[in-house]
Symmetry: C2
Subunit: 155 residues, 2 copies
């Protein structure tokens, strides 16, 4: 994924600081979700002096500017993701924690249905599916049959 973070500022008048550049760069490279804590971990590895406060402040700014999407992926914490052209949704595996992105025309149909039936003007759609990925299903099948097909989960 290419990026032009050094030349083009999407900050709408807000100063283009090295911290914000670093954080946006990491968000791009993540190619998916990260939570604030993980983003701080990665960022501080490249800039020791960076503080958690800056991470939180920056994420809030990015959110306001519409640069990132905030979402929940089954954990308690918020996750953040660079906004991209294509809409996509997430599958989260309860077995291995893997996050799979997917698209489906049904999402769009669903939004249309909601608009028509409830007069609700949808500005943000977030679908979250939990379950077991193919690999975990097969792994569990060989260990203990049926386990992977249960909806029960501890954490």
């Amino acid at each position: 994924m290419s990026r032009n973070l050094n030349n083009v500022s999407p900050m709408h008048g807000h100063p283009w600081t090295s911290q914000r550049r670093l954080l946006l760069e990491l968000l791009h490279d993540a190619e998916g979700y990260v939570d604030a804590k993980e983003l701080y971990r990665r960022a501080s590895a490249r800039d020791e002096s960076l503080s958690p406060a800056t991470v939180y402040r920056s994420l809030n700014l990015f959110k306001e500017l519409g640069l990132v999407d905030e979402m929940r992926l089954g954990k308690v914490r918020c996750c953040y993701e660079i906004k991209r052209a294509s809409e996509h949704q997430h599958l989260v595996c309860q077995g291995c924690g893997k996050v799979i992105e997917f698209q489906s025309p049904y999402v769009r149909k669903l939004i249309q249905a909601v608009r028509h039936e409830y007069g609700f003007n949808v500005t943000k759609a977030q679908l979250y599916l939990e379950g077991y990925c193919l690999e975990c299903q097969e792994k569990e099948k060989s260990d203990s049959p049926c386990a992977a097909t249960q909806g029960k989960h501890h954490e």
Copy 2:
């Protein structure tokens, strides 16, 4: 909504205490989402001695037993809802905060599609749509045109 909380214990061997009965009763009466804080507020109005710790511990137990669904409704906190027979999803209005429940056949189709295309075994589907309800759209239309159609939101 009728309930048989006094006679039937869904606690699977766990003691049926007055605190748990009260909390489940309130969850039923809520007929929708409540977060832990709000649940505590309501519960302590009826039992002054009840502690927040009990609310959290009970919610975790209910979750384990599959009595409630835990979900996110746009806020930082978790919301809880008594599990019901019918699957339903949520629309959250950015204007007035109202939560509208809805059902759609597209959700089921989407789950099927995911199963077929990714081999993903879905155990939980949670759809979260944000936007503006009909009333807020009309309210905004008379105050300042266009406002309700923007995706921008501060909090």
